[in-house]
Amino acid sequence: MTHLFHPQNMDLTPFLFFTGKGGVGKTSIACATATALADKGEKVLLISTDPASNLQDVFGIHLTMAYKEIAEVPNLFVSNLDPEAAAADYREKIVGPYRGKLPEVAVKQMEEQLSGSCTVEIAAFNTFSSMLTDQSITQTFDHVIFDTAPTGHTLRLLQLPTAWSGFFKTNTHGTSCLGPLAGLSDKKKQYEETVQALADRKRTTLMLVTRPDISALSEAARASKELRNIGIENQYLLVNGRMKEFSKADSLASAFIKREQQALAHLPIELKNIPAFDLFLAPFNMTGVMNIRRLFSTENSSEAVQTSHTDQNKIVQYPKLNVVIDQLLKQKQRVIFTMGKGGVGKTTIARRIAVGLAAHGNKVHVTTTDPAGHLDELISGENGNITVSQIDPKKEVERYRLEVINQSKDQLDSEGLAYLEEDLRSPCTEEIAVFRAFADVVERADDEIVVIDTAPSGHTLLLLDAAEAYHREIAHTAGEIPASVRNLLPRLRNSDQTAVIIVTLAETTPVFESERLATDLKRAGITPKWWVVNQSLAAAKTIHPVLQVRAANEHAWIERVAIDSEDHMAVVPWHE
């Protein structure tokens, strides 16, 4: 038996982390919790650590790394931890003192070296770590609430303090391969304190946000277990989007409820002993302070919704997914990406496209770059022409380490090898290993069609930034660059070879995030080819009041996507 989640009545720790699969409602609940606590008179700092943050959409204001007080909610301060901005600050801190002291060309090379993905990650992580340890923050705010990126990215962020402190501890040759962290040699203590703060149940609570569905629950279970392993044991489970029973005659609503009951009946073992709370599906989008406040108010029930009456007869015919597949067959792009916000169904669309292409006799390889991806979801529907793989960071790092050691062992004696192995234990190695695996999988397009199901936007953008940074670095590297790495960026930018498909839902934040993603992609020289609106309720018939309202609200967003995509769009209905 679970209870409703009412944070204002709970005795909560100073640090609260909201994590979970994409689309489960982390941002909504984090914002509602922050607002509820601030309304009680507590001083609250709300920070998004997602490189594709949605906080600005919720509050309707532009956000930066500097804390901004929300006008309608005194005591609530909000900021976005922007990894690129953090990296720029960090870079300037290191390079700045040498402007004028070193020749300009040298300063420029330092800047370039400090633009790689490892610097970006470290800078973001360093900013994050200072939030947990900086006394001016911990003394000013009663609560610091972290709205995190989807699981894969967040696990990495929370595991980094342990990884770096461990690396500092075992590193015997001093400054080597701290990489861009060398500018932070004084940070050792801060990272140790971060590890302690995260593991202290008086200070930190992990809020595992999930939906009552199997894949979200299994991702929560994984996060729970991995974070318990690094000492974050104080965990709550928040089951968001539960449905109230309405009418058995409504097949769509009944399907929702049936799915819920099945999922909750098979709760993963890791989640069984965690205090659990419920939140009901709200009939409104979580934007604006008014709606945020409604989430935990007692009048928020579906019955209270005066159905802003929807015209159920207005069923517009939108283009279907087979339009996209037919065009891909015709235009013969061999690298196909599905990208978008977490939880929009990128994997499902990737699989359906792969199956569609394979049905025409093509050899297709499907892969996911999402560290929290579910390979089993890709495999179902497999036929003889389809192969599947996953880029698992841990395995890629191992593979890369072995490869480098095998390449080098003829040149080094045992001490040299030990030194090399130590460099390879640097957490920075993960970046390059994952990146090379990504380049390798794209290279498979020489022989077959490659469908790449990506991690949620933030993570994917960082991967593409890495492609650009490494591409620049290649120019002045004497090392042996694999052809796959050399060819990567030119191939991604060639629209005859690569098709990016943006997957979204017909709702506020997924559309906003998709639009930002499209802009960022264009800046990197990659133009999205198709937009797919997934899990659309608009085409489904329902009399459930909550679902009706949500369905009616979709049309405006679908129209907007039609414009964004210049009518290169398909709509996939929600199905049971």
Partner: protein, 119 residues
């Protein structure tokens, strides 16, 4: 003992393993310099990304970069004299400057048993 300084371009780390490709030259020089340092030899590597202060304070390298640009890196100085630019010193170079036998700089030769099954 002559002191040896090697000034290198901005890199993530001494072995270069976090760059886009692994450079066998970096692996070799890492091994050789490591062996010399373990014998107490005054040899140091300075990487622009990690040790910008040394570049700023050492007039010779500063002036060299100013006049010839970044292509001079890696640049090697023996007792303050520029002896090599644009490439790393070979193990033979290092053996000559330090009088340390060549086989102590790199991996000690190992016996290999080769089975030639084709003949």
């Amino acid at each position: 003992m002559k002191s040896i300084q090697i000034f290198e371009p901005a890199m993530c780390c001494a072995t270069g393993v976090c760059g886009p490709g692994v450079n066998p030259e970096l692996i070799r020089i890492t091994g050789a310099v490591g062996n010399l340092q373990r014998q107490g030899y005054p040899i140091n590597r300075y990487n622009l990304a990690n040790d910008p202060a040394v570049f700023a304070e050492t007039k010779t390298i500063h002036d060299l970069l100013e006049s010839k640009g970044m292509e001079v890196l890696p640049a090697t100085f023996v007792d303050g004299q520029l002896v090599k630019e644009g490439t790393y010193p070979t193990n033979q170079d290092l053996a000559k400057w330090t009088s340390v036998p060549l086989d102590e700089l790199s991996k000690k030769p190992q016996f290999r048993i080769t089975l030639n099954v084709n003949n």
